[in-house]
Amino acid sequence: MAQMSDLKKNLKIIIDGDPYTVVEANFVKPGKGTAFTKCRIKNLITGSVLERTWRSGESVELASTEVRRMQYLYQDGSHLVFMDNQTYEQILLEEDVIGDGVKFLIDNLECEILFFNDKPVGCEIPTFVELEITTCEPGVKGDTAQGATKPATLSTGAVVNVPLFVNEGDWLKIDTRTGQYVERVKK
């Protein structure tokens, strides 16, 4: 059990038997009144988002979830196939569970798969991935401090904005949370 004040973004809780993750937690306190935490919570199985308010003193049931590191193998229709490198167990995950990050998935990428009651319900892909540029305009000398950019297509098909000096064939470090270029890496 957790308290209202423990409600923070990404906390996994159970409501009516379903696992939820806290998407947004806002502390509110009417002048001279009880404190509340207003949350937006997301059902980890259905993906539906709803709003719930907890009073100071109310408790919250925590969801016991397990995170396992698994390797991405390939896409099968709208499903993605992952494998546990220790047990060789394979699982299927719906594509939309991953959200926008799916466009940065490359073969053999190690991801963190979230299990609730032994069922895979979520996937966390690494914050940074390294991908090769397949298409972009040739590099030009530029003042990097000015921040001029151009679009580049990566090996997974994702398009990101990059500084002017990078070239086709360069490898880039990408932040999967924002989909933004971080830096060029040597391969």
């Binding site: 002048g31 001279k32 404190a35 509340f36 207003k38 308010t53 009073r55 590099g139 060029r184 890496v185």
Partner: protein
Amino acid sequence: MSEYIYARVVSIAPMFASDGKKTYEVVELPDDISEGDWCKFTKNDGIIRYHEKDTPSDTPFPGREWRKFQTPGTDGRTRMDALKFRSEVLSGTRKFFTDSGYFEVETPLVVSSPGVETHLNAVNVSGNKFLSPSPEFQMKRLLAGGSGSIFQITKCFRQDETGKHHNPEFTMIEWYHVGADAETLRCDVEDLVDFLIEYTGNPGKIKKPPYKRMTMKEAFLEYASVDDYNRSPKELFKMAGINSSPPEKWEDAFFQVFVEKVEPHLSDNGPCFLTHWPKEFASLSRLDENDSEVAERFEFFSNGLEIANGFHELTDYKIQTSRSLGELEERKISGKPLYPLDNLFLESLKEGMPDTAGIALGMDRLVMLLWGTDDISNVLSFNADEL
């Protein structure tokens, strides 16, 4: 003579390095240098040559602080821009009040009694002292001492209050208008906001006055479909359409309906003064002369947020003392730490505090709205998580 430059390699081909202010084109880089490395370069006749790999300190690039304060947000403005704007709001506020005949006071931040309000957690400091959660007691003692109208811009401290619109340490603009009633004080708020919009030239997200007035009763009917809030917690929740289980105490149910149904919509069509609070929440305000069920307390809302809380101040020593004792009793029942009563404040009421209307306005939230952002951290130098 050649000079040395510390810079970080930002590009290998072509070869560029930057110190965060200036980007340099460099000649020769050894193979073991990669992007991100800090190096020492020599500058000779305008030519910048690699000298050795050397990190001046463990500084990321551009430095963490530089990134935090100088990276433009989606609107192209930086947090440093916001801090400069905040400084303008501060000087504008001082100008507004001193031009209106107030004088600025400073009261201590370390106090013996943080007040006995039921839902307030004060920050304890050593020797049975507390960081002041509000300057009201000391300012009222000044009023009893013949100050006349006064204002203060000060820090307040409230433990466990953290979030997008809360920080455990925040800045309050608090003023006391001698001889004024609640409506005059509401006009003061309109004048101040109007003045600050003109002074800073930046309306941000807040509309210009005049602002709507609405009673608590009207607001409950309009936004929560509750015709009369004097009902059981269960009935209140049912009428307001809240599905979770109702609390035992009426006060908690009232505030939950308020927080879930009323507050988010109060300022849908522009800022609003919410007036005539139930007598149970009179706090330090007097009861309405014509209707003893409600208090002369109001709050000012804009963009779904409480910005200020004003009272036609209670000056009756006996009533204030019995309210304080009642709150202390509530704290005892709910197992909260028992703070000492501020007897010097209570005695000052006995000695005689002039008829006054007073208000506390959350300066960080006001700056946030004038600046046009939705996170209080954007207008703070450092929030509690950044320390």
